[in-house]
């Protein structure tokens, strides 16, 4: 039964995709040239103006361009033009670094805050105010104070991805069932041991969920940050191609950003399943 459901879902997915591509293709077909112009003038104009080619590329254009990119993902034509593989590598490295720093700060800090109801209440307003701030708002401040654009980008990822982890850790630690802690207490388990053998495993699923939300945010942030500071990364690639008004390349970048984001999310989802326990 389940296998037939999966098969049918897969079929529907394929039909939806085909329908989407079909509509896209039809919507972006060239219309014939609307005005007549002298050949001398036409030579100086783009295809959009001369042949009525849609400004939006069709799926075939995107497919051809994507193939071109996939064939040589690691080319390096100087500091401002590198292959998509290299750009994605830069982005993933930046996200990894900023995210790792956030994990290193958020989890121990969240643990401490979660174990103390007083701190947890006192810090809550600050966290609530800092949480919804957009990466683009942090960027000028970071550039101005840190005075280094690549560190600024990492800082912005750090500051944006820290809050969901911190909040979830606090929540997870604070809501460990009282019975379990009381049992540990009756058995005279020390504070440190209690934290690692009782609270940590109990709070782990919530913490991991926070980490999963955070990696999604970090990946969202990197594109915005790189568009702003430029240089390298997939965000810079989007900006550079936007500069050239090459919507084809922008669509390819969107596709890749989506795929990488999904992969990162799946990795964290797997970790979450590993620590989940039945009650």
């Amino acid at each position: 039964m389940t296998s037939s459901l999966r098969l049918r879902a897969g079929l529907v997915s394929i039909v939806l995709l085909a329908a989407f591509l079909g509509v896209w293709h039809l919507a972006t077909r060239s219309t014939s040239a609307t005005t007549t112009m002298s050949p001398e003038y036409a030579k100086l104009m783009g295809l959009t103006a001369t042949q009525g080619k849609s400004a939006m590329p069709g799926p075939l254009d995107v497919g051809a361009k994507l193939w071109e990119h996939l064939r040589r993902p690691f080319y390096d034509n100087g500091p401002n033009d590198k292959g998509l593989g290299i750009q994605l590598g830069y982005s993933i490295a930046r996200v990894g670094l900023g995210y790792l720093l956030a994990v290193l700060v958020a989890i121990p800090l969240g643990f401490l805050i979660g174990m103390s109801p007083l701190l947890s209440k006192a810090l809550d307003p600050f966290i609530q105010v800092l949480k919804p701030i957009s990466p683009l708002a942090w960027m000028p401040l970071a550039l101005y104070t840190i005075k280094d654009s690549s560190i600024s980008a990492i800082f912005v990822i750090f500051i944006c991805s820290i809050w969901p982890m911190l909040l979830n850790t606090v929540f997870g630690v604070a809501s460990v069932r009282k019975e379990w802690i009381n049992v540990a207490r009756t058995l005279e388990v020390g504070t440190v041991r209690r934290a690692f053998t009782v609270i940590l495993p109990a709070a782990a699923p919530t913490i991991l969920t926070g980490m999963r939300i955070s990696i999604g945010i970090a990946w969202l942030v990197i594109v915005a940050a790189e568009m702003l500071v430029g240089g390298t990364g997939i965000g810079y690639f989007v900006w550079n191609e936007w500069n050239n008004l090459s919507i084809t390349n922008v669509i390819i970048a969107i596709l890749l950003i989506g795929i990488v984001g999904m992969l990162l999310d799946q990795i964290l989802a797997r970790f979450t399943r590993m620590v989940t326990f039945p009650e």
């Binding site: 003038y41 100086l44 104009m45 959009t48 000028p140 500071v229």
Partner: protein, 459 residues
């Protein structure tokens, strides 16, 4: 007289118009006859030429006197006579070798527009390497970012809008950090583009309520557009809306009908036409022929800590600018700067900008060889003019020491020295008068100039 003219040419016309009388200026005549096409010239020969030119100019500072002398003896005799009592060979050698740069690996930021042509092309065409530098030119997302990265010393020098170094030095919109401009990048090369639907609204008086985009508040684009609108009786602060929009977004916004037009740097103007969303209303040169647009800027700190690197960098830029100022090189330059690593734009678009034969978006092909031009000399009167406009539109308040600021930021004296070393002939004075839309600007009387405008922000 332009920096790159040949002082050994007795026939060069000194006034307006050309020798044969068929062209509007001597330069157009030269382009038409293409007599001075000298593609493969050895390095040494070229240096010798520039050194000789400098000596010649030094001896006969008056154009008319030099012409009389050349006419009577002939150019080759004059050159031979010169070398009799002036060691041209030694001078050439001295010119070719300079102090070793303190720092060889430099980073220079640029914004992908054709204004940055000399900065960009100096990399693929080897001008930096020629002057002993290993320069990485880094594309940057916007003017604010390029400012911050240069202030942060991530970039040793950068491409900036001509008023930006003045604004940074004065602390407008940033902390006051002394910056300096050793060279102007380009003159002219901007344009007012309107959306295709405004084809019939060619009179600025009909533009009330329209939305226009400019690249940055401290830009020549802002001042030129405001000037143009004000001359036509529109108050740019109340009658229209001016928005700061990064150049690449301008075409997209014009297509989406968010703005009615823009005064933008080129390749963006031509790109809007190329994509069929707008037409060229006016080239910026029709507002002020020979206006500066972008500059090559560095912080005072870099100049004092690495003077030789700075000198070599400036030399490379001036050298590239000289190369770019020649019409016959423009096609090659367009191809060199078009790839994704540099400007990232179709070659056709860049060629139209640089060669000046362009589609106007209304179905016609126009030719204006001076659509964009390159002249490195940082006239201090340019800086004074920008300051008058900053004052006019309320960007600076209170009293301004126009001359002091201009002289501190626009390094005409240093550039003069460097250009003399390179054998180019810098102008004798650092101030020149010019006319903007027919109104003459006297750099000696900036306050009167500001006061003379009816439309300005009340201070």
């Amino acid at each position: 007289m332009s920096t790159f003219d040949d002082p050994f040419d007795a026939g060069r016309n000194l006034g307006a118009g050309c020798v044969c009388g068929q062209h509007r200026s001597a330069r157009e005549h030269e382009q038409a006859t293409a007599l001075r096409c000298d593609p493969v010239e050895s390095e040494e020969k070229r240096y010798e030429g520039v050194v000789a030119s400098a000596v010649m100019r030094a001896m006969f500072p008056q154009d008319a006197a030099r012409r009389a002398f050349l006419k009577s003896v002939g150019a080759s005799t004059a050159l031979a006579a010169l070398s009799q009592f002036f060691p041209l060979k030694t001078a050439t050698e001295v010119f070719a070798q300079t102090g070793t740069p303190e720092k060889k690996d430099l980073k220079v930021g640029f914004i992908p527009i054709t204004c940055a042509t000399p900065i960009i092309m100096a990399a693929p065409l080897g001008f930096y390497a020629k002057h002993g530098l290993n320069v990485e030119v880094v594309k940057t997302a916007g003017w604010a970012v390029i400012r911050d990265k240069t202030i942060n010393k991530e970039y040793d020098a950068a491409h900036m809008l001509a008023p930006m170094p003045i604004a940074i030095s004065l602390g407008l919109g940033a902390n006051a950090i002394p910056f300096a401009v050793p060279a102007i990048e380009n003159i002219n090369g901007q344009g007012i583009v309107l959306a295709s639907k405004h084809k019939d609204k060619r009179d600025p008086k009909d533009w009330k309520g329209m939305k226009f985009a400019i690249p940055f508040d401290y830009s020549m684009h802002n001042y030129l557009l405001r000037y143009y609108l004000a001359e036509h009786g529109l108050d740019p602060d109340t009658d229209v809306q001016l928005r700061s929009v990064p150049p690449p977004e301008m075409v997209a916004n014009l297509r989406a009908d968010n703005i009615d037009g823009f005064l933008a740097p080129d390749n963006i103007c031509q790109r809007a036409i190329y994509d069929g969303v707008g037409f060229m209303h006016l080239l910026s040169k029709e507002i002020w022929d020979g206006h500066p647009c972008c500059s090559f800027a560095a912080s005072r700190e870099f100049i004092t800590t690495a003077p030789n690197s700075f000198a070599a960098l400036t030399r490379a830029i001036v050298d590239a600018t000289a190369y770019a100022s020649k019409a016959e090189n423009r096609k090659q330059i367009a191809e060199a700067i078009a790839p994704a690593n540099y400007i990232n734009a179709p070659v056709t678009v860049l060629e139209q900008v640089l060669t000046g034969t362009y589609a106007d978006g209304l179905g016609g092909v126009k030719t204006d060889a001076k659509r964009v031009d390159f002249d490195p000399f940082p006239w201090q009167s340019f800086a004074v003019w920008m300051l008058t406009q900053m004052k006019r539109w309320g960007q600076i308040k209170g009293d301004v020491d126009y001359k002091a600021v201009a002289e501190q930021v626009y390094l005409a004296t240093d550039t003069k020295k460097l250009m003399t070393e390179m054998g180019l002939s810098p102008p004798a004075s650092s101030y020149k008068s010019f006319a903007v839309m027919g109104k003459t600007f006297d750099p000696a009387k900036p306050e009167d100039y500001v006061a003379s405008f009816k439309i300005r922000k009340a201070s």
